[in-house]
Amino acid sequence: MTHRSRSKRVLALDALQRVEGEGAMYVDIRQGTVREVQLRIYEPPRFFEAFLRGRHYTEPPDITARVCGICPVAYQMSACQAVEAACGVTVDGQLAELRRLLYCGEWIESHALHIYLLHAPDFLGYENAVELAGDHADIVERGLQLKKTGNEILELLGGRAIHPVNVRVGGFYRLPTARQLRPLRERLLGALDAAVETVSWVAGFDFPELAHDLELVALRSPGAYAVLGGRLASTDGLDISADEFDAHFVEEQVAHSTALHSKMRERGTYLLGPLARYALNCDELAPEAKEAAAAASLLPEERNPFRSIVVRAVETVHACAEALRIIDAYERPAEAAITVEPRAGVGCGWTEAPRGTLWHRYEIDDGGMIIDARIVPPTSQNQPAIEHDLFHFVEANLELDDDALRRRCEQVIRNYDPCISCATHFLDLRVERS
């Protein structure tokens, strides 16, 4: 929908396509100047943080998985880390490696979904992946098989790809044997090749000009491309633990969104996700991923958000290589989970969801019941960055006609792979907080 007059130009898109969940976009241009841009999130709130009160400390992995069907493992892992922190235990060794393997499955699935089915059609001038498959069936097929390999990891280790059942506070319910993991190896070798081909495919796209100077924020954990925990770092020197998150970030309610917007105190808009992770951790990538990144001429700090699709492909290579490493080194632990006894306290945890850092915080009583729960997901944190990009992109491309500009704006939003189902639930219950 477009309204245009000599002085006023409004680009509105009532329902964004090829994003997870439902949102809209609104751009207001007056006298050749961008007045306002909004990524409007109108999905109704689901009140997860309210429901978690009065539930048992063992329940957040299953309950919070339902925030998002695309990244349930991210919710399960952040929930486990936070509850375990509250109870004063750490899950490490092979159990942590298996959690990492499960997470690799989600990264592969989610990234392949976004690259092939949601984002690539933008660069190649197709309306959707089915149209793309009409001309390039082999390419879409490669993407679907890559995606399927991610799902196979989730299904073998988690029981199912969406809302896995095998995750619990302390570890797992049932552990696979090394022999059971072996069939994944063959699949992953094929997926690794497909992922490397994906990097060179997307690196050949035409990328519109756009650069931002936002602070890039991601977890860092020496010796690993951080996924499960670590400290939160940034390109401007941030370095904090999960417990310090509150002291550095603030959320705002705005009328055009049912997701709260996050800002860094006294520093403003920041950016999470693949571009940030790559900028802060590229020296920790698997050799295969480093090689693919070099072949794609990725800069150590990529500032064009349209090139996030290349970074997502490089991360897919890394996830395949990492999954192979874990499977090859796997020795089945004696126990499927460590014992986690409840105690009164507060615990915070975070992990790198495919779209960026996902923070959970739980307060539990000595009987193990949850007194307070808070969740801050990546898409709500990235909303201001998306609007920032939209603003600057529209400003630099006012000469495009409305249809072309609107399409490009939609692509700008897709650069972030926004997960609106996730973002929406942040309308949380807030009682008794000083």
Binding site: A24, P72, G159, H163, N166, L429
Partner: protein, 286 residues
């Protein structure tokens, strides 16, 4: 972390494509996928049919499926509806969706039973909102999360949180060929027998909702050495009193039983009646 309000104009209502007059029906049956309040997982299940997706897209006209990039106007031969109704705008939208759909199938626990967000039905949403928001009037939410069938006639309800790929494909095929869907309505217990699982309740003393839970997952949780947590909702004739007695004997107090039944299908009639009865007996906290 503090939460502050910045007042900007309200959001416009999202249109459902209008039914154009005298439009010729497409040759291939047209399929639409709609999202209401949900996690996106059940419609993702369609995209998770990696081996079948392109074949399905060749056999039907994917007409409306925003997440995959389809937004053609109706009418549609088959509408798959994910999610529950939780606000006024969606209450009106589901009526418009029904009007342009020949068949309407709900997919998943949210659309079929109200989903996890139906836990609000047992609390006070007005109070939630006024406590939570700097500007509660900017957010619109109904007091209850309701299934699609509370608002419009539904031709078939597919269970699960999430649904399974096999059942989704079976239901789509059945509707497109005008036959009954081959989906069993028995319990997870029967699937454990078919799978050859040792009963986790009998052998390990675990609390398991398998006897009262609708089949469809393939007895997933017991296969992973945990008790079923009821994500497919009640089976066709669940014996809840016997189930609750059994859970009590396994050491679960009534509060724990209520929590177990109040998860992803809390507002499914049989589960809701059972938990309300327990609470009315006054023994357990809500």
């Amino acid at each position: 972390m503090t939460r502050e309000a910045v007042v900007t104009p309200p959001v416009r209502e999202v249109p459902v494509p209008r039914l154009p007059e005298r439009q010729r029906a497409p040759r291939k049956p047209s399929v639409a996928v709609w999202k209401f309040s949900s996690c996106d997982g059940c419609q993702l299940t369609l995209l998770d049919c990696e081996d079948e997706l392109l074949a399905v897209a060749g056999a039907v006209e994917l007409s409306y499926f925003l997440e995959a990039g389809f937004s053609s106007d109706g009418p549609y031969d088959l509408s798959l509806v994910e999610g529950s109704v939780t606000n006024e705008a969606d209450r009106r939208r589901i009526e418009r969706v029904r009007a342009v759909s020949k068949h309407l199938v709900t997919i998943g626990a949210c659309a079929t039973a109200g989903g996890i967000q139906a836990l609000r039905n047992f609390g006070d949403v007005e109070e939630f909102l006024s406590i939570v928001y700097a500007s509660p009037r900017l957010v619109e939410a109904l007091g209850e999360s309701t299934p699609i069938s509370a608002h419009v006639p539904v031709d078939y309800e597919l269970r699960g949180c999430p649904i399974t790929r096999a059942q989704l494909l079976e239901v789509v095929l059945a509707f497109l060929h005008g036959r009954r869907a081959d989906v069993v309505a028995s319990s997870v217990c029967s699937e454990c027998k078919l799978t050859g699982n040792v009963c986790v309740t009998v052998a390990d003393g675990m609390a398991c909702l398998g006897p009262v839970t609708h089949a469809g997952c393939g007895a997933l949780c017991p296969s992973y050495k945990r008790g079923c947590y009821g994500c497919f909702g009640p089976m066709e004739s669940p014996n809840l009193p016997a189930m609750i007695g059994g859970l009590n004997r396994r050491g679960l107090d009534d509060g724990s039983v209520v929590r177990l039944l109040r998860s992803f299908n809390a507002a499914a009639p049989q589960f809701q009646a059972a938990t309300q009865a327990l609470i009315e007996m006054g023994e357990c906290p809500t």
